[in-house]
């Protein structure tokens, strides 16, 4: 496929690996904050190839993994109602709530529908007028415009049976939280290419100035990942900290203006609890007051009291890069994709799932 295959070419990757090894005078710690990148790094063995030059730590880059338990429990409550269909990305289904998962509720009630796009949930609402359709709106800035479009479409169609359970999160406030922790040990960040495609990266300039950490906007294919890592290492070696764009075929400084004005019309930033991180100031999005009738929480008059995490699961430390998944005693023993303790083991983009899938298979000594 054009714009994919050439970015996976082994010869280009080999050359970039050599460059990174030659450039690094010590081991640098670089964090990515996108689950798609986490999986790319593990899948292609880039983390292994760069041992000794770059230590890759994985940030809270999986929106499914940071969706708070109380939101999942609320979604489950809705899916247990006779008058409601809960529409969700497939990723969300196996994430354990405090008592059960949406997958289990789907088996019991049939009231959970997996959709590829939030706009498919609007179509479902048109076709199913006797049911309330609630779309579980999780995701970073990449996904927020799609759910905003769903609200606009539902409004234009005059649908009274469509609403959103909004759990959207914003990446930069979480990066600030991590960068502000003096013990984080992070030397630089790879910024998520598709988040920046929507949101731009001018907002990162203040961040690099404040924390003196390079931020490199990076894509997802091996050539993209290695180009981003090389830029980050070269900046670190030169004692520089700037925002660089290594995903310029898609991400532009000012972002996608149409998407940003759409988000701004429908949503506003708010404080939001992230699973594993606690409340992130301005770390979430909520519907603006004028769109409140599309808010499932309001429609179903539901409070979401905080729910305690299972004590055994160390996903909070995984999500903040303090430990790697195999450091957890439960990894691949009491916690597996079939029987997960926490979200990062089941989400397609969770760090624990990535190590389980790729690092275990290659008998990486780090996975015991």
């Amino acid at each position: 496929m054009k714009f994919l295959d050439e970015f996976r070419a082994p010869e280009s990757c080999r050359r970039l690996l050599e460059r990174i090894r030659a450039a690094a005078s010590r081991e640098w710690t670089i964090m990515e904050v996108c689950g798609g990148q986490t999986h790319g790094l593990l899948r292609y063995g880039i983390d292994q190839e760069l041992g000794g030059c770059v230590r890759l730590v994985h940030g809270p880059g999986c929106p499914v993994c940071v969706t708070p338990l109380e939101s999942i429990d609320f979604a489950i409550t809705l899916a247990r109602r006779d008058d409601t269909l809960l529409a969700s990305f497939g990723d969300m289904l196996r994430v354990p709530g405090s008592r059960e998962s949406l997958l289990q509720v789907r088996a019991a009630t049939g009231n959970v529908r997996v959709v590829y796009s939030p706009l498919d949930a609007v179509t479902l609402a048109q076709k199913t007028p006797d049911k309330q359709i609630v779309f579980f709106a999780v995701g970073f800035e990449t996904t927020t415009p799609a759910t905003a479009l769903a609200v606009q479409q539902a409004s234009r169609l005059g649908l009274k049976n469509f609403s959103l359970l909004v759990s959207h999160v914003r990446v930069l406030p979480a990066m600030e939280l991590l960068a502000g922790d003096p013990g984080n040990g992070i030397n630089g960040f790879l910024a998520a290419g598709h988040v920046c495609t929507v949101g731009g990266f001018d907002t990162y300039e203040e961040f690099t100035a404040r924390y003196k950490l390079p931020v490199v906007v990076t894509g997802f294919e091996p050539v993209d990942l290695l180009t981003g890592i090389l830029e980050c290492v070269e900046q670190l070696e030169r004692h520089e900290a700037t925002v660089a764009n290594c995903y310029s075929r898609s991400a532009r400084r000012e972002g996608n203006r149409a998407a940003l004005s759409l988000i701004d019309a429908i949503y506003e930033p708010c404080d939001r609890p992230w699973r594993g991180l606690g409340v992130v100031p301005m770390g979430g999005m909520r519907l603006r007051a004028e769109w409140a009738e599309w808010d499932a929480q309001r429609r179903f008059q539901q409070e979401m009291p905080p729910v305690a995490e299972p004590a055994e699961c160390r996903s909070g430390e995984v999500l903040t890069g303090r430990i790697k998944p195999p450091d957890c005693e439960c990894f691949a023993t009491r916690c597996t994709p079939e029987s997960p303790l926490g979200a990062p083991m089941v989400s397609a983009e969770g760090a624990c799932a990535a190590y389980y899938r790729y690092a275990l298979a290659r008998r990486d000594p780090r996975t015991r």
Binding site: R15, G35, F89, P118, V138, T143, H194, S248, S250
Partner: protein
């Protein structure tokens, strides 16, 4: 979650946002995609599609630059290797004899 796939715009169907749409082809598979966020896309352009919505037009010129840089790296490496080989030959005993 933030996965987005490049596809080629085949035909615009509707230009009225939020229902703007086009047929987009991904490795031979055609799908209807929401185009509200990329009104500038023309047929034949590549767009990145996430959750049924095109979020950007791919800039082919910028994509090419990555490989130009890689090509320059390759040339620099070759030159360095050639120079190293030259230096090795010079150091060989009797090479100047």
């Amino acid at each position: 979650m933030c996965l987005a796939i490049p596809g080629c715009v085949i035909q615009w169907n509707e230009t009225d946002s939020p229902f703007a749409s086009a047929v987009v082809e991904f490795a031979g598979v055609r799908r209807e995609v929401n185009m509200a966020l990329v009104p500038e896309a023309r047929e034949g352009d590549y767009v990145l599609v996430h959750a049924g919505v095109a979020i950007s037009c791919i800039d082919p010129e910028e994509a090419r630059k990555v490989f130009e840089t890689l090509h320059e790296l390759a040339l620099a490496d070759e030159k360095a290797h050639a120079e190293a080989a030259e230096a090795d030959r010079d150091e060989e005993p009797g090479a100047n004899a």
